[in-house]
Amino acid sequence: MRECGNYKTTYRDDMKLFGTTGAKIKAIIIILTILALPLFASSYWVGLLTLCAIASVGAIGLNILTGLTGQISIGVGAFLGVGGYTSAILTSTAGISFWVALPIAGIVTALIGGLFGIPSLRLKGLYLAIATLAAQVIILFVISRWDGLTGGTAGMVLSRPTIGQFSLSSNTGYYYLCVIILLLTVLYATNLIRSRTGRAFLAVRDRDIAAQIMGINLFKYKVMAFAISSFFVGIAGALLAHYTMIVSPELYSFHVSIEYLAMILIGGLGSIFGSILGAVFITLLPVGLSSLIDVMAGIMPDLYQLFSAFKDFVFGAVIILFLIFEPGGLAHIWLNIKKYFRLWPFSY
């Protein structure tokens, strides 16, 4: 990577996402690697990677709201549910194609998210968090009681989407769908941050009084952040529903909301790359733990019974450790590693 001698002569050059040839090559290699992964991985791992990609879309959505705009939301689980159920009702009950249902699921979630974002004008911080918790409870209540539409506590069954004659029922096919949507999400979010709207979001987060004097309508941008964030959470919810091929209220519990908050905390607030790192970390954490326990079981067979308690314990411990030692999250750790090697071996 060339650090010096890299002079920009136009503003357009200065704005480019991949300004140097090195950066372009790096981006292409990363994308090719992601696309080639299913060729080398088993179906089980492709499934896990799909879950990582879906969680990343949702985490990026939440990060736009919490990381960029500074509005804490603990209703993500329910918004995933809104996306999942919308797609389930549209495809299974109404018989509409998945490709139409997916964007509609996003839009419906965006509308409901925007609606629950309205209290954000008056409420800040902890109080807003409690208000979004109300969203979680209300939405889940509606989902589990509106039997006629949602199938109540029994849930609904979905099927994998098809393109023409070709079905995406294999893990590999669905992986490609999710990864492409993730790439589009990353592109959109990256551009959003450096555009007028993204700057306004950051301004609302950092100093809302100064933002008002800059001519930013706080209410409009807060509700907009809720809507945009919920759109991606809704898309993630729909993708997840068609992956697991079932929706039921307990899949969208309060616990899921906390998991998503943990993703962006551990990954890095306000960072797109961090959202992905956090999503992968939280998704793979139980898998890593269980394989660790498999290894340890040879020595201590009783560990199997402790596993479920152990998982929650590690989950909590990881969040606390990150908050204390690296509030910038995994994204910040990654930056530090990059900085170290930029000057390596002459890092003085």
């Binding site: 357009r12 959109y188 555009s195 700057r199 306004a200 301004a203 800059m214 930013i216």
Partner: protein
């Protein structure tokens, strides 16, 4: 040239405290106007009323003849009223460039959809406004720090960026709340030069709050003096210097024993 801003009988009350008490004055278009007074006299409260952060309990504020007292703060920005804060209110994590671009928020149009796509109109708009922002950067001599996060800059430079963000709006009326507070004399001279240039080159009407009376007397066309929320003086620097009430407020009354 007629008055650009007319303040008439503005009062502001917090519970039992009268922060502003029937204050009236007017600001001519194209002048440098200073608002002075001892600490706690209500100068910043006055600016907050003009930019809309406080809602006066009575009176009227007219900008170019238009009543703005019930307007939301973000709508007043679109009229061309910019403001630099006393306690630096920059967005510390963003670069100087992004802070200045935020100053142009109301002049840009792209929304969440086109901004996220960042092609065509939206990216052209970014370039067009980048050019305007670069003019401000050149004017305030911020070239070498344009990509630096504001939070890492020294105090004097942050003050200058704060003024720059207000200038980026391309305002007709700029409210500067103690732009020279905490600066040494060299930095003060530099800032005074910027203020004069704003006034003469950019033809912006400047409202200045400042404690350094030497600078105020040198720069201003008109001055209003506040004390305990009351206007105790209004006029040219010469008139203010002779005004007995102002002398009393600043130096105290002569007492004979």
């Amino acid at each position: 040239m007629g008055p650009i801003l007319e303040i008439e009988n503005v009062s502001l009350q917090f519970g039992g405290v009268k922060a502003l008490d029937n204050v009236s004055y007017h600001i001519e278009k194209g002048e440098i106007f200073s608002l002075i007074g001892p600490n706690g006299a209500g100068k910043t409260s006055m600016l907050n009323c003009i930019s809309g952060l406080y809602q006066p309990t009575g009176g009227s504020i007219r900008y170019k003849g238009q009543e703005i007292i019930n307007m939301k703060p973000y709508n007043r920005t679109t009229l061309g009223i910019a403001r630099a804060f006393q306690n630096i209110a920059l967005f510390a994590h963003m670069s100087v460039l992004d802070n200045l671009k935020l100053g142009r928020h109301t002049l840009m149009k792209s929304g969440a959809l086109s901004g996220g796509l960042y092609i065509g109109k939206s990216s052209n708009e970014e370039i067009e406004h980048r050019k305007k922002v670069e003019e401000v950067i050149e004017f305030l001599e911020l070239q070498d720090i344009r990509h630096t996060p504001v939070g890492t800059l020294p105090y004097g430079l942050q003050k200058r960026v704060e003024v720059g963000r207000a200038l980026a709006l391309g305002p007709e009326l700029i409210l500067l709340d103690e732009p020279m507070a905490g600066m040494n004399s060299t930095e003060k001279d530099l800032m005074a030069r910027f203020i004069l240039d704003m006034h003469e080159v950019m033809e912006i009407t400047v409202v200045l709050i400042e404690h350094d009376l030497g600078i105020v007397m040198n720069l201003s066309d008109h001055i209003a003096v506040l004390d305990f929320g009351k206007r105790i003086g209004f006029g040219t620097p010469e008139e203010i210097q002779k005004n007995p009430d102002v002398i009393k407020a600043y130096i105290g009354e002569e007492t004979f024993i």
